[in-house]
Symmetry: C2
Subunit: 278 residues, 2 copies
C-alpha cells in the first residue's frame, strides 16, 4: 500500500496555535479527515498572541511555520484567529516556495455565519488582536453588501477557560457583561479557537442566537480543498503528535479540557529567532 | 554639581517585569527614592511569565537583564514575583561581573509578613509559577521555624486587572472563590506585583486580615541597601523612562491603571535571543 501512495500525500498536516486553543480545530480536523496525520504545535513559550502587536504576531507565526515546514508537512493550518488575522497572507507567501497550502480559520467561519443569518446582523467575539485587526469585518463585507456587524473583544474568556471555570457562575456573569450590547444580531461568530468551550453557556444566555464555531467549518473547508487538489492520504495510518515550546505539564492539563484525552505523544521543542521563514 | 558626583551614583536603576505589574514597585521606588532615575522595562512581547516554565522564565529574564546591563544601570530590580522566584540567583551571578546589585521582591515581602503576623499563619497569593516555585515558603520557613503557610495560585487576577475590572462585582466573586479556603491566617502576602490593585477589594472580603503589598517593603529595602553601599544619587535630576518589547499602545492604556499618569517617555525596543547574559 505505502509503495503505491504518493510521498506528498502521506505527509502530515501542520496545525498551529499560540497554545491550546487550536485543539478545538484539530479535533474537528481529525473527525473530518480520519486518515490524515497531524502535527500540532502550540507556541506556549510565547502564548498568548491575542494581546500582541501585529508585527510580533507575524514574527512569531513565521518562526513556528518555519519549524513546521522543516518537518515536511503538506499543508499548514493556522488554528488561531489572531494569527490568521495578521499572518495569513505572509505565511501564504512564505510557504509557496515549499508547495505548502496554508489555511486560516476566519474565512470558513465568516461564510458559515453568512449562510446562517436571516436578519443580516452578525456579531464577532474574539481577542483584542482579532477584533482590532477587523479581518472578519473585511471578509463579511466583501462577501455580502448589506451585512451589519458588531464586534466585541472578550479578553477574559481565554484565561477563564484555561482556569477550567467555563461552566461556573463566574463565566456566566462575565459572559453576560461581554454580551450586554449584543442584542439585535441573530448569528454570533466565536472568533477565537478557545470559545467553543463556552458555546453551551453563551447559547443559554442568548437562546435566540446561533453561535458559529469556526473549527467545524474550517475542517470542512480543508477537506474539500485537499480532496480537490488530490492531496488526501491514501493510507489509513493516521497519527497525531503534539509539540510545545514550553511548559509540557500545563499543556497536558489544559489540553485535556479541549480533547477529553491527553495530548500525546507530546514533545518539548525550542524555537529560535533564526527559525523564522523568509 | 554634576562634576562632583560619582558617575556610578548617577546611573539609573533598572526595573523589570514581564509587563505592567512591576509599575506598582516602580511607583514605591519613586516615592522612597525621589532623587533616583529609573529605567523600566516591560517584556510585553513575552508577557506573562507567570504561566511559563522555570527554564523559559530564566532565559527571558537573562535577555532582559542583558539589555538593561548594556544601558549602564547601577542596580537591577526584578519587579516580578515569578521572575524573582526562578531567576534571582541566576541574575545575581550574571550581574556580579558588572558590579550591579540585584534586588527581588520576595524576601522583603516575606519579612514584612513575618513582622505583622500574630498567629503565625500566613497566606501567599500569586501566579501559577510563583506558587509552584515555593520561594515564599522557603524564605518564610528559613526565617521562622513555627510559621504555617497556605498558598493559592490566582491566575485570573492578572487578566481581570488588565481588563480594568478590578473594582467590579466580577472581581469580587472571583476573589471570594480564590479566598474560599483562606480562613485561619491573619496575614496575606500579595505575591504578584499586579495584586496591589485588588488590595482594597480583598481587604473588604477579609476585613480581619492584613494584606502585604511587597512593593513598599521592597522599596524600603532597596533604599537601605543603596544608602549603606553609598550608591544613592547625589543630584536631584531624577527621571524615569519606559521601555517595552511590544504593543506600546496597550502598555500605555493598562499602565495608566497602575500609575494614574501615562508611562512616558515610552520606547519600543527589540530583545533578541543573543541579548541573553552569560
Amino acid at each position: 500500500m505505502m509503495e503505491m501512495s504518493n510521498e506528498l500525500n502521506e505527509r502530515a498536516i501542520g496545525v498551529f496555535d499560540s497554545g491550546v486553543g487550536g485543539l478545538t480545530v484539530l479535533a474537528e480536523l481529525q473527525k473530518y479527515l480520519p486518515n490524515e496525520s497531524f502535527l500540532y504545535l502550540g507556541d506556549t513559550a510565547r502564548v498568548p498572541y491575542g494581546s500582541r502587536s501585529p508585527e510580533t504576531i507575524i514574527r512569531y507565526s513565521k518562526r513556528v511555520a518555519g519549524h513546521l515546514v522543516r518537518k515536511k508537512i503538506k499543508a499548514l493550518v493556522i488554528a488561531c484567529n489572531t494569527a490568521t488575522t495578521y499572518a495569513y497572507e505572509e505565511l501564504r507567501k512564505s510557504c509557496k516556495p515549499f508547495n505548502i497550502e496554508v489555511f486560516g480559520v476566519i474565512e470558513p467561519g465568516a461564510k458559515s455565519a453568512l449562510a446562517k443569518t436571516r436578519n443580516n446582523h452578525i456579531a464577532v467575539l474574539g481577542t483584542e488582536g482579532t477584533i482590532k485587526g477587523k479581518k472578519y469585518n473585511e471578509i463579511l463585507h466583501r462577501l455580502s453588501a448589506q451585512i451589519q456587524i458588531q464586534e466585541k473583544a472578550c479578553p477574559l474568556f481565554v484565561p477563564l477557560i484555561e482556569e477550567g471555570w467555563h461552566h461556573t457562575e463566574v463565566a456566566e456573569i462575565i459572559a453576560e457583561k461581554y454580551l450586554h450590547d449584543i442584542q439585535e444580531v441573530d448569528t454570533v461568530i466565536l472568533g477565537c479557537t478557545h470559545y467553543p468551550l463556552l458555546k453551551r453557556l453563551l447559547q443559554k444566555i442568548r437562546p435566540n442566537m446561533t453561535f458559529i464555531d469556526s473549527a467545524e467549518s474550517t475542517a470542512r473547508f480543508i477537506r474539500a480543498s485537499l480532496t480537490e487538489k488530490n492531496l488526501l492520504s491514501t493510507t489509513s495510518e493516521a497519527k497525531t503528535s503534539y509539540l510545545v515550546t514550553d511548559n509540557l505539564e500545563r499543556f497536558e492539563r489544559v489540553g485535556y479540557y479541549f480533547l477529553n484525552h491527553p495530548p500525546h505523544p507530546l514533545e518539548l521543542i525550542d524555537i529560535q529567532d533564526s527559525d523564522e521563514l523568509a
